[in-house]
Symmetry: C2
Subunit: 351 residues, 2 copies
DNA sequence: TCGGGGAAAGCAAGCGATTGCGCAAGCTGA
DNA sequence: TCAGCTTGCGCAATCGCTTGCTTTCCCCGA
């Protein structure tokens, strides 16, 4: 540590911690300091400069708790990621980072701070819930998790809740989410168009959004000469390792499926690796299609064909909805389009 | 929106917003409510239960600003990611998510909130800096960025700053970081051991940590029969697209390098894709080694050999250092070990 | 000379919680 | 019966800042 060992003093110690101390140093009242900081023109230029200089010299910073207690706004939005243990979708899934990143950008533009939380206030700890600290102006929840009812009750109790997820009927909160059923259908049609008939779906269908992707897939397949028996649904957590192992086991067992639709790009990439380890070629032997379109998907080999979710737009819309609520108006739901992004992992044919 | 359209009432409106209102409802004083919430045994069990029930019924939540103003602790740590535009390392790089995730875990264990920030308070806006809002008990900074001097000045002025990055001599803050020079050397030795002699380094050497990886590489090569002229250093931003294009251009131009050392796994994966697009085989024609060991690296094909940084330990140490400072003790620096993780992208020989 | 008016700064209330201290009621034992 | 203790709760100050309302001072015109 280099804390000015020469003098033995900590050079970091600010001399003034409160506005009152700055006022004292400047020989003015607290209110004048407050106005100087706010840039009020009710303070003379000289006084203002003197005060700002003292603030700088002393490394003084406004106490945001006191400030927001007085002004009645925290200018903070809490963002919580609904990751359950059984779910196992890891926080470091780039899908989350992307959406958090875009939320962060949108919030910053509006002058809001982002409080990142990993606990789920609507969870079982109802007591902790009741006493939960009211630390933000609103809460943006990413994912409805596996307990949408509890989330629903939570949103009914507290206002200022906005959710990324599926447009569940009867919910009590505004939702921003992409059209999962359509995404699933797109994937199904693309696989069909490339001559695939014996499909595998990889993902936890109890996760609402994933379930909708699956049913979208199924609906695209019906009446197209694909018997439902030909489509295999492998329910599993949301992580790479599960996808890798499931794929490995499935294809080792000698089945002859010719396509995999994974609930996330991360899972799709892991599945491709499993196929490669088994000596199966992608896309010649097995086509693979993912979901999300994370940045990396264009840089794996073969490039991953996938269903794109516009996370950037998603983040922006979530923040927009929140600001709408905070301003007292009625927010609306948003359905983001899902697009097919064709790369190489399904063959190059356009659907 | 489903706000109880039947009755026209918003069922969400809590009836009591402050402790005083709860006290009123319960027929007790505010102090009693406060003690009931805190679980003080100076309140009778019946009163306590009555109060807690009212709290629950009314959806009351403590105002954390008022609370922390009084108690003098915010229980919040700000985490800022030092991403500059020129740098272009994107927030959604899993390296960041991993470290933020582990910081979040460690903070949660200690009862702290995580305020995620993307602006750099030590940046050029010195005026904004002086007036910066003091919203957290401390600040954890990920990466020293490209302006370590400004960061140094900032840390000199304010206390409670902990940084992930390189152990720069003369810095005024505690650092947690991995041994980049050693990591670079490990990569160099591994490539040499696999018979590679004409290396390419991909990364922005003005980024301090990357620079140290590069010099570690160079030092491992000297005296090993590799003339420095044989090693190419390609300075570029921290993102996949740059790495892809640089690799494509380099190998299209007909050079015959036989190994790539990339400053991050994301870049390495993009480089592999470029090689694959050019028809070069990894590892037979060109070996590729990355840096970070993100989860995905074991799921790309071929598996990416890389230098592992222990981000989990990193997050924990960062939080530990911060708590040490907050408790008034002297924090110490941490150097995390870097390990070689051998997969397939350099050939399978152990070094 | 004096009053009006405007600029600059101060006073003090109050945001919503915590907490040391004080007080009343009830119980115990002498 | 009453001092003394325990139990349960209320009073009021306080955290650091913002802001409506005054106050002070100075300049200027009548």
């Amino acid at each position: 540590m280099n804390r000015n060992a020469m003098t033995g003093q900590s050079v970091k110690t600010p001399k003034a911690r409160t506005m009152a101390e700055i006022a004292e140093l400047a020989g003015v009242a607290e209110s004048t300091v407050s106005r100087a900081i706010a840039g009020s023109n009710r303070v003379s230029v000289e006084t203002k400069e003197r005060i700002l200089r003292l603030i700088d010299e002393n490394g003084y910073r406004i106490n945001s708790r006191a400030r927001s207690l007085r002004t009645q706004e925290t200018r903070t939005i809490e963002v919580v990621i609904a990751i359950s243990e059984t779910n196992r979708q890891h926080f470091s899934d780039p899908f989350f980072s992307q959406i958090i990143s875009s939320i962060g950008d949108a919030l910053a533009e509006s002058g809001y701070d982002l409080l990142l939380s990993r606990s789920q206030p609507w969870g079982e700890g109802s007591h902790a819930d009741a006493l939960a600290v009211n630390r933000a102006d609103g809460i943006i929840i990413i994912g409805q998790g596996r307990n949408p009812e509890a989330l629903n009750r939570y949103a009914e109790k507290y206002r200022n809740v906005v959710v990324w997820g599926a447009h569940i009927p009867g919910r009590s909160y505004p939702v921003v989410g992409s059209d999962n059923a359509h995404g699933g259908a797109l994937a199904g049609k693309h696989l069909l168009a490339n001559g695939r008939r014996r499909l595998v779906f990889l993902g936890d269908v109890n996760h609402i959004e994933v379930g909708m992707r699956h049913s979208g897939l199924v609906s695209a397949l019906t009446g197209k000469g694909v018997s439902s028996g030909q489509t295999l649904m492998l329910s599993m957590p949301f992580d790479s390792a599960s996808a890798y192992e499931a794929t490995l086991r499935l294809f080792q067992s000698g089945v002859n499926h010719d396509a995999i639709f994974a609930a996330s790009d991360l899972m799709a990439i892991a599945a491709m690796r499993a196929l490669s380890d088994l000596g199966a070629r992608v896309p010649q032997d097995v086509a693979v299609i993912g979901y999300d379109d994370i940045a990396l998907s264009s840089f794996v080999s073969p490039g991953l064909t996938t269903i794109r979710q516009d996370t950037m737009a998603g983040g922006r819309h979530l923040v927009e909805s929140m600001l709408t609520i905070l301003s007292g108006r009625e927010p609306s739901d948003t359905v983001l389009p899902t697009d097919l992004v064709i790369r190489q992992s399904c063959g190059a044919t356009k659907s």
